[in-house]
Subunit: 348 residues, 2 copies
DNA sequence: TTGTAAGCGTTATCAG
DNA sequence: CTGATAACGCTTACAA
């Protein structure tokens, strides 16, 4: 069952109907200055009459620009990332850009392939949440891409991309300072690889709080290797087999907090009662957990919006720059108050 | 700071390097049968040499097909939908299709606009999770789109689209039957508009279970108007102001369960203890809620995969068809057993 | 101000 | 089997 071949209306048809040259139609539609008022109305009439919409493909080929942004992401099932994607698309469409969503499944090989795909599709820019910060191969892909790039939460020295970074240190420091002030000194920290910006930055906040409090960190409580739920769960279990388990745990980013919470459930430890938890990044329905847990929060909608802004800037030829998003410590006690008020409008 | 203009390699360059005609290069690359072995290796050598990749844009314009699918969705921030999007993209890329993600913010006007955008971008097909099932305007958009369409969880009579539907009735019936067997008769049902397939189908399961148990439904406990969290919250609050509040609540789909749970929290009712809750569709970390709650589950990854399959079928010229996805009742008691076993691999 | 015509980078038809 | 060449639908010098 072939789909009906609805004959497309071409610019030629409009020109014929309006009785003018093709180029005149083009000029009217692209808002060229040198067009008479009569020409304008004649063409516009024909356009409306026929319901003409320019073929984006032909325009792109001719203009050399596609009005399309590639959005490359590791894990869109993650609400945090998908919110970024959503707000980014919303922002891009205001400027009549479309977004090609392309998943990297969190592997470098796929990322490499994705760059090739997006290149052959001639996207005007790429916004990417990459796996690695250290791979030279990725750096090369970025450098040779030929179109502007915006990085999410990654710092690649020597690469001329714009970036949206989060000031993780800020929120983490506050969180840890709070924990220390409550008498916690054995604070565990479970998160991703320590050679990444995110982790280094978080660790900075962690250390800084300890330093200010004039306390010393327990290195055996620091577990920085992987962002997965699996890793966080395993490490949490291990931590509780130590002679002296932690009295508080900083757990994250995004996949990890679930891992820690599942581990606690498994061994019957109750958050807040048996051990204080601070999750890095929030999840939907977090406020329904009982007992609720504290978190270090950053606004994904903001990140998406800024990413869109940055890529559009670069496309306009402006210089690359980095935007730093603040993070805030959502303390349980205060959160309780917030919860009952105005979560109503959020879709989760 | 202009981005470096990396001169693209064109088919012309390859032809020159190989010392053959442009058309020969094209033939080799598109696997045309009438090419000599010598020609093939000569061209391939030049291709590798120059790192040539065909311009997708030019190909599309010439071939009249873009290898691109439009994915139109109401709310990608919702983990349920974003998982569908993810698995759909993963499936599409296996067949070398890309996906344009386009948000409809849940309004018909935006949907209309989106159809126009996707049309001018000449996508080879559209997968859409639409707001309305009743609007003639949308039907028209679908009919006139000119490319195949796949609908998610919507039944538009008279429209020649394929569809992925969920067998909501199945899971709901089991859930309600279970509740009735436990002695609940005052079961509330909060969900979206009752003229939609989803709701009608769920209601069918609801009624069927009541009928089988030879019990009668309390119409004042049925609240079917809106999928939002806000609506579910408000209706939940109202239900508990009734002279005889419900002893169990079916709440969903996706946004709604949060609304009900928030409402309960607000008035200090504890799920499972004061009122039994069955959520329609699951959320990440649902199993961490305390007490945990039952749900009617459907697999979003499956839905995404099938959607991709269906659109590719249509593109190949096969006849439209509808796939029905089962839903299952996840009972708390059984869920408890499941929880501790193997949730480890999920990314939430 | 408007029209003519040359591309944009491919594919496909048609000779040779 | 291979090579010219005309499209695909539009934009943009360049002429008029």
């Amino acid at each position: 069952m072939k789909s009906k071949k609805v004959a497309r209306v071409r610019i030629e048809d409009v020109a014929a109907q309006a009785g003018v040259a093709i180029s005149s139609v083009s000029r009217v539609l692209s808002g060229h200055k040198s067009v008479s008022e009569t020409m304008k109305i004649r063409v516009e009439k024909a356009v409306n009459n026929l319901g003409y919409r320019p073929d984006h493909l032909a325009q792109s080929l001719r203009r050399g620009t596609t009005h399309t942004i590639g959005f490359m992401i590791r894990d869109i099932m993650n609400p945090f990332f998908s919110t970024i994607a959503q707000s980014c698309e919303a922002e891009l469409r205001k400027s009549h850009y479309s977004m090609i969503l392309i998943n990297s499944s969190g592997t470098e090989d796929t990322e490499k392939l994705n760059f090739a795909i997006l290149k052959s599709r001639r996207v005007d820019g790429v916004i990417a949440s990459l796996v690695s910060e250290t791979s030279d191969s990725v750096k090369e892909d970025l450098e040779l891409f030929g179109a502007p790039t915006v990085l999410l939460d990654r710092k690649l020295p020597g690469v001329t991309s714009s970036a949206v970074l989060s000031d993780h240190a800020l929120g983490v420091k506050k969180a840890v300072a709070h924990l220390l002030s409550q008498g916690h000194t054995r604070i565990a920290f479970i998160s991703g690889p320590k050679d990444m910006y995110v982790t280094k930055n978080r660790l900075e906040g962690f250390r800084s709080a300890y330093k200010d409090a004039d306390e010393k960190i327990y290195p055996e409580l620091i577990r920085l290797k992987d962002f997965t739920e699996k890793y966080a769960k395993e490490e949490t279990l291990k931590l509780f087999k130590l002679p002296k388990p932690p009295t508080a745990i900083l757990t994250g980013g995004i996949g990890a907090s679930g891992g820690t919470l599942h581990a606690l459930k498994e061994i019957g430890k109750v958050p807040e009662k048996d051990v204080t938890i601070v999750a890095l990044d929030e999840w939907p329905l977090f406020d329904l957990l009982n007992p609720p847990i504290s978190s270090v929060y950053r606004n994904p909608e903001l990140i998406g919006r800024y990413a869109a802004e940055l890529i559009l800037e670069l496309i306009r030829g402006e210089a690359p720059r980095t935007i730093l998003i603040p993070t805030t410590f959502h303390n349980v006690a205060e959160t309780k108050a917030r919860t009952n008020s105005n979560k109503g409008k959020k879709s989760y």
